[in-house]
């Protein structure tokens, strides 16, 4: 495949799927005209500020609110004493809610930074000052600080994550060459530019919530369950999102607090979660630990992989950061064994963060493969190609498409890998040691149904309407492109409406599944709209096409004409006028024909019940990538800078290469942060994340990021999605950290097995 060459604007393909259009809402965002959730003007709005726990575990004995309540402007103080009347909500999977109460401000403290009280006042400043004056008495109990705490123990085996075939232990023991190592990743956080928060407004029993959301329908359902409302009474509005990365897919405790406060006060409530509070309002990526043993023949044929992983979870919920997620699908291996355990510690329940599971998993296996390459004295690229998996050994199924070989070879060619000298510390520039490394990544193709509506208006404009969201990945733009292609209408004649749970149902913007799902729904709907329009044009009185004798019509460049263009030609507006129609509205979904009941639809749009994993079907379907990193390490200071990266991706067909490249680069940049900078630092004495702000929790700045060359090697995969694309949003981060860690080893001869690779580990 070719390195993508930017097309010029004006190319015929510009408006079609595959065109490099700039994001539709870009101007709104850079000029500040895009309205984010907390910016909605709401009359009579009051402000809520959270109070969070300062101990890791125990019980709230008393909350002294006397000083806070006496402060000017204070309207309401909520504490664990207040029964907010909430009921438990069902989970993502759609399991029916437990019949029990839900306390978003609980008495039992399970982690440091848990919300335990809230103050609502006329102004945010008044609420913040009053919140500061609340004193909480605790009865502290013993806590477990983190995964490395001796009190943490071995945790709980996740039987559903045990994977094995062949006899891995025996094959390992019989291997000519073996390596065994343990790899660690710390707590990492989403740190989206837009912090969490919401505005909640009640009108009678109708609830409107402005909140950044990766899933407007699913969040509406959970709010409805908390407040015992019919689903249709809850409306989530979220047209723009300042980054989610997995953190904005469900309502969180603070949301329940704001909505409950709005109900009690009869006034709209705005709650802006502070930056420090963001670190504990939703969990980041769990800290992980994984032991990997690899066995190979002398000539580098992989014989066995034995993998034992651990990730932390909270003391009140099970969340597995699946360290074995990428391990079984990257290489050909006849003997495999993997187990994963979760270890409860006193933290907020960890959550999904870009590339959950696959990301730390890839750090483990891709570091281990390079360690094996050095044990064998073999080029790490050669080792990877030698053990290329011809099919999915875990499921036994063929790949739908897998162009990881092309990613490796074309990435290597673009990077200049053949010029590498194998020995560590063999490339230098003065005090600077230079190293090259590879890391492969993968992310499963997750499929889900969606719904869409197309409206053709009297003025000739076309609306594409969906309750799905755009958090920067380009949904607005690619849906216009999809509709443009299917309808034969230029994109500038198309408006896209998103981000409202009142609009047609949609898959979550998570698991890299939204684009494939929603383009399929829009495509299907647009084709139906086109058929409907042509049918009307051929049959309705008033249409100039009625008596032409044609049995179909052409719709191109926004005009309706006879197939041979030898008769009338009308713009959409002219045709709508001729038809005497104000609108033509078509709604379709991609649920199967036998699953079209109201309950089927409710479950499809508000739960994960209809989501299909990568091996549900004949094939095993995944996106793939290979990252090539060059680092420069100051020999004296131990500082690492990434000086060059080439990353080659197989994500199938790209609906808009410009958007895709932006997402890939965003993932790579996050991967650089993960490799070199990001770490939630916990004080062992009270479980507090002490660098809970963006001054101290370091993410890369522009000057940390070199030019990132990205290459597409994918081919359309029509098993993966209607239009042939595979997931794009997450695969970019997967494999970056091991590529950099491997490059650091190549540069310095030091193998750092715990991220991030900070200077004191190399000095």
């Amino acid at each position: 495949m070719t390195i993508m060459v930017p097309r010029k604007h004006g190319d015929a393909s510009d408006g079609m799927v595959g065109g490099r259009l700039s994001r539709f809402e870009g101007n709104l965002k850079v000029t500040g005209a895009a309205t984010y959730a907390l910016e909605y003007p709401t009359e009579g709005v009051v402000h809520a500020v959270l109070v969070q726990s300062t101990i890791a575990a125990g019980k709230v004995v008393a909350v002294d609110i006397s000083r806070a309540s006496a402060m000017p402007g204070v309207l309401l103080v909520l504490t664990p004493e207040d029964d907010l009347g909430l009921r438990a909500a069902g989970d993502w999977a759609g399991t029916a809610p437990k019949d029990e109460a839900y306390y978003p401000l609980p008495r039992n403290v399970q982690f440091n930074g848990q919300s335990i009280a809230a103050v609502i006042a006329e102004s945010r400043e008044q609420a913040a000052e009053a919140a500061r004056l609340i004193t909480v008495s605790y009865e502290e109990t013993a806590s477990v600080k983190d995964l490395e705490d001796p009190a943490a123990g071995e945790g709980k085996m996740m039987g559903n994550l045990t994977v094995g075939w062949g006899d891995a232990e025996a094959a390992l023991a019989a291997s000519d060459v073996t390596i065994e190592a343990e790899y660690r990743t710390p707590r990492e956080y989403h740190v989206a530019m837009e912090p969490h928060g919401l505005i909640a407004r009640w009108e009678g029993d109708q609830l409107t919530i402005w909140e950044p959301s990766q899933w407007s329908h699913g969040m509406a359902r959970m709010y409805a369950e908390w407040f015992s409302l019919p689903l249709e009474n809850v409306r989530i509005i979220s047209p723009f999102i300042g980054g989610g990365f997995g953190s904005k897919g469900q309502p969180l405790a603070f949301g329940a607090v704001a909505v409950a406060a709005a109900k009690k006060l009869g006034r709209p409530v705005k709650l802006a979660v502070t930056r420090p509070q963001n670190f504990t309002s939703y969990g980041g990526r769990a800290a992980t630990r994984q032991k990997i043993a690899l066995g190979a023949t002398k000539d580098g044929i992989l014989q066995a992989i034995v993998h034992r992983g651990y990730s932390e979870t909270s003391v009140y919920a099970d969340y597995a950061e699946q360290t074995g997620a990428a391990t079984p699908v990257l290489y050909k291996v006849e003997n495999y064994s993997s187990e994963h355990r979760i270890v409860p510690v006193n933290t907020v329940t960890p959550g999904a963060l870009r590339g959950p599971g696959k990301n730390p998993s890839s750090y483990g296996i891709e570091s281990a493969m390079e360690e094996l390459a050095y044990a064998l004295g073999m080029d790490p690229l050669e080792l990877r190609l030698k053990n290329y998996a011809d099919h999915d050994y875990q499921s036994g199924k063929p790949w739908s498409t897998r162009r990881l070989r092309e990613a490796l070879t074309e990435g290597a060619a673009a990077f200049g890998w053949e010029k590498r000298s194998h020995e560590p510390r063999s490339m230098r520039d003065g005090n600077t040691l230079i190293g090259w490394g590879i890391g492969c990544g993968t992310f499963p193709v997750i499929r889900a149904p969606s719904e869409a509506m197309i409206r053709i208006l009297k003025n000739g404009r076309v609306e594409v309407v969906s309750g799905s969201i755009d958090m920067g990945q380009g949904t607005y733009t690619i849906l216009a492109q999809t509709a443009s292609e299917a309808l034969g209408v230029p994109v500038d004649q198309i408006d896209v409406l998103l981000g409202d749970s009142r609009l047609p149902g949609s898959a979550i913007a998570g698991g890299s599944m939204l684009a494939g799902s929603i383009t399929g729904a829009v495509h299907k709907t647009a084709v139906a709209a086109r058929d409907e329009l042509i049918g009307l044009a051929l049959s309705e009185a008033g249409s100039p096409f009625r008596d032409t004798g044609a049995n179909t019509l052409s719709l191109a460049a926004g005009r309706v004409s006879l197939p041979r263009d030898d008769g009338p030609s009308l713009s959409l507006a002219e045709l709508m006028t001729a038809l005497g129609r104000d609108t033509l509205e078509i709604r379709r979904n991609t649920l199967s024909d036998d699953a079209q009941t109201a309950e089927d639809q409710r479950r499809a749009w508000t739960t994960m019940a209809k989501v299909m994993g990568p091996t549900m079907g004949e094939f095993s379907m995944h996106s793939w990538c290979a990252h090539f990193a060059e680092v420069r390490v100051d020999e004296d200071f131990g500082t690492v800078r990434v000086s060059r990266m080439v990353s080659a991706f197989d994500c199938g067909r790209l609906y808009n290469p410009k958007m895709v490249e932006s997402q890939w680069r965003g993932g790579i940049i996050m991967g650089v942060g993960q490799a070199l900078l990001e770490e939630g630092i916990v004080d062992a004495r009270n479980g507090r994340t002490i660098n809970n702000n963006v001054g101290d929790y370091l993410v890369p700045t522009n000057s940390d990021i070199p030019d990132l060359q990205v290459i597409s090697v994918g081919v359309p995969d029509l098993n993966a999605s209607a239009l042939g694309g595979k997931g794009v949003g997450e695969v970019g981060i997967v494999g970056v950290a091991p590529a950099i860690a491997n490059a650091v080893f190549h540069a310095t001869g030091k193998r750092v097995r715990d991220l991030p690779i900070t200077l004191e580990k190399l000095i």
Partner: protein, 335 residues
Amino acid sequence: MKDFSYVRATSAEAASQAALQAGAAILAGGTTLLDLAKCGVAAPETVIDITHLPGLSDIIVSADAATIGALARMSEVADHPSIKAAFPAVSESLSLAASAQLRNMATIGGNLLQRTRCPYFRDPGTFPACNKRAPGSGCSALGGVTRNHAVLGTSEHCLATNPGDLAVALVAFDATVSFAGKTVLVEDFYRLPGDTPDKETVLGRGEIITGIAIPASAAAKNSIYLKVRDRQSYEFAAASAAVGFELEADGKTVKDIRVALGGVATKPWRARAVEQALIGKTLSAGTVEKASRLAMEGAVAQGDNAYKIELAPRVVVRAIQQLALKTAMKTGGLA
């Protein structure tokens, strides 16, 4: 945030007068004050805005000295051609500090008074014990995470690192700071924490910094600021060094050398032992390396920050080497 009254000062005297009240805070660039108010460390009763006072923003560079008004912005000083020419380390220390947005707001006077980044100091809700914030309450950093804490100048009462970059360069070149009609060396302006870590400088109540002066010297003209950190930009120093030197006419022997350290000490740290060990010597690798180790005399590690004791001398060595190379390239021969 607590309600406060806002006073726009019309004269320096009025500002000083107003600043005498308990709970008064001076507002210049506001980058530190707002930050500390948000994290609950600062809760002023009165904010005295001095940004409109005339005559406090000038940058004047003469043959003898640079004088810089307290309200000059960091970015203005960093980019000033005469500062760059006569005091490169000063300019570099500013360019390498904070972010572009902060440098455009923050003032020189405020920069000297920035507070530590010690996470325990900055989180009063969770860590009530902090001798700097609440004298006598204890030090939460002791026994906590100390990766970024000081190894020099600490006491059993406080480990907090002075976060400044500019002040390090100023200390190296004997700059002075003026306030309330007094002028003192920047080095003497800062106090060691001892048993009063709340008293960070010798500035008295109601006293307002009006400006700084940096005497011109050959060493200041031939100087460098080197800052080492994990992130390329917008991070406080793991260790930094301001170095300047002047060679004898032979182009080899050190006539004057200045070395100061940042990121490792409770105040901007002049490394006089290193200077003494190099005066009269040539800057050979062995000599420089040996001398640079003296920078860590008296250093005490807390565990997490032990790497600083290894790192800081290396930063001094590199700074001297880089400056020697620069000097050699300028003079056309290797020193």
